[in-house]
């Protein structure tokens, strides 16, 4: 394998990581900050993608589509928080799992009801499509570079919001002891609605951005959801930095594992077996990574030690 290809694959791994981060960012916000296991995050991601596809279909504008994704997911998020989620904060993780699992069913089938069972069309706008040539002669899709930039910007913004701003501090305080922060005069409920809407909006944006190069269809959120959970757990819950680094680790492992494991095994066995065993190992690679990291550091890379 040539050096250029290796570099390109590392870049691909990074890029896939950032893409995962886009999905994980909102989840981490809600999960880390509010202590809520939100399985329906994947549904918000889907809602964003569907909203974007619909608006893009009518207007042809990608920017409007992104705005629609953000707005639709944030609004749905706010409503869901007001109606359902706020009754779940005091409950344990189990109830949250069940309730948000129920939300998945409602959203997935509801979307199918509205939009039918077939995938929707959403494409990259012309000004972002096609490859560009990077130093070293690597041909790389412009859109993926765009994703990397957007992902990093979101990472920075969220990190600052949580650690630096007073709202961020209040939110984290509420995560520790809701009753107490309320007794100090903070309207934690309203704050949580905002955070949830923000997290949902991020999911929606991610759905639209990623939907443009993947498929926009019912159920698109669930595989992503699991990966996003893997990412934030590896990074350590509640840590924006951890989510970013976890995402990149997962991205690299997945991308490079898929390529190198079969090659590696070819050194030991015949190509057919190597390809199939290597590929199976590759599909397990991120879970092995996650298991290993948690065994080594039980609260993830950047999680608070208990």
């Amino acid at each position: 394998m040539s050096f250029i290809l290796l570099v390109e694959q590392i870049l691909n791994g990074l890029q896939f990581g950032i893409m995962l981060f886009l999905m994980a960012a909102g989840l981490t916000l809600i999960f880390g900050v509010m202590g809520l296991i939100n399985l329906a995050h994947g549904s918000l991601y889907m809602i964003g993608a569907f909203a974007a596809a619909t608006v893009a279909g009518y207007t042809g504008s990608f920017v409007l589509a992104l705005a629609a994704a953000l707005a639709a997911a944030a609004i749905v998020g706010a409503i869901v928080e007001l109606v359902v989620i706020r009754r779940l904060y005091d409950k344990d993780h189990l109830d949250q799992v069940l309730a948000t699992f129920a939300l998945i069913l409602i959203f997935s089938e509801g979307t199918r009801w509205l939009f039918g069972s077939f995938p929707l069309f959403l494409d990259i706008p012309d000004y972002l499509s096609g490859p560009v040539t990077l130093p070293g002669g690597i041909q790389y899709p412009l859109y993926r570079l765009f994703l990397i930039v957007v992902g990093l910007l979101i990472a920075l913004g969220l990190g600052a919001l949580i650690t630096k701003t007073r709202i961020g501090i209040q939110i984290r305080a509420g995560e520790n002891d809701r009753e107490m922060i309320a007794a100090l005069g903070i309207d934690i409920s309203r704050l949580y609605t905002l955070v949830f809407a923000l997290g949902a909006g991020l999911a929606g944006i991610a759905g639209a951005l990623v939907g443009a190069i993947q498929s926009v269809q019912v159920g698109m959120g669930e595989p992503v959801l699991i990966l996003a959970f893997v990412v934030i757990v590896i990074g350590g819950i509640g840590s924006m930095k951890g989510a970013l680094i976890g995402a990149i680790l997962v991205g690299l492992t997945d991308t490079l594992g898929g390529i190198f494991l079969p090659e590696l095994l070819k050194l030991f066995t015949d190509p057919a077996t190597a390809t199939s065993v290597g590929s199976s190992l590759a599909s397990m690679a991120i879970y092995i990574l996650m298991g290993a990291i948690l065994i080594w550091r039980p609260t993830g890379l950047f999680g608070a030690k208990s």
Binding site: A173, E175, L184, A304
Partner: protein, 228 residues
């Protein structure tokens, strides 16, 4: 006119009733002791005042009926709580704990650190790893940062070294005389309460059984209700 007026409230935890009729009055600038044996309902009363527990009866605070207000609105009227068991925000640093709920007023971060220099030294430490006494100081500082009209101290000197207790008592005395703050105190140290409080209320099994001037609190009464 009284700042806080609690009249005949009752409250339950699930099926078990904890308060059966508590009365309590605090006037502006007054320091009142709430006394009683363990488990008699002192903390429960505080929870009702701060909107953390539903109750029957009426509580008014600086002219507002607290019956329907959610906890955060009640707090914004000027209730500052130092809860039993400290309840610092474990994952936040000392500094973050202090500014989390700060509201503008006399008490600023600088003033609190001046009151408790230890908090300045530990500024960036996660509060979960503070010593018990440090957490207690932090809880008081945090309540002050909201610049309350009425400070509620539930066992605020529990677990403090004598010298720090003295400091805190001194600080409370200062709050009373210099800042004119109204204070509701729950504490087991009768001697200090006597020195600092204007009036006292004693509850027994969820009922107010004695109210009056501190001076009128005779040893017979304390013997009967507090056991000393």
């Amino acid at each position: 006119m009284s700042l806080l007026s609690v009249s005949n409230i009752s409250a339950t935890y699930g099926a078990s009733q904890a308060l059966f009729g508590v009365d309590l009055q605090i006037a502006e600038g007054e320091v009142v002791a709430l006394m009683g044996r363990n488990g008699m309902g002192k903390t429960t009363t505080v929870k009702c005042i701060c909107g953390m527990l539903p109750f029957k009866g009426s509580i008014t605070f600086s002219g507002h009926d607290l019956g329907r207000l959610p906890s955060h609105k009640a707090a914004r009227l000027g209730l500052g709580l130092v809860p039993e068991g400290r309840r610092c925000f474990a994952g936040l640093t000392v500094y973050e704990n202090l500014i989390a709920a700060a509201r503008p007023g006399y008490w600023t971060h600088e003033r609190v650190v001046e009151l408790f220099p230890r908090l300045g030294e530990r500024r960036n430490q996660i509060s979960a790893s503070l010593s018990g006494g440090e957490q207690q100081m932090l809880a008081i500082g945090r309540a002050l940062m909201t610049n309350p009209k009425l400070l509620i101290l539930d066992e605020a000197t529990e677990g403090l070294a004598p010298i720090i207790k003295q400091e805190i008592w001194a600080a409370i005395a200062r709050l009373k005389t210099e800042a004119g703050l109204s204070i509701l105190m729950i504490d087991k140290s009768l001697k200090e309460l006597r020195a600092i409080c204007d009036r006292a209320t004693i509850i027994e099994r969820g009922r107010t059984v004695w109210r009056g001037e501190m001076a009128a609190l005779t040893n017979d009464v304390t013997e009967k209700y507090v056991g000393v």
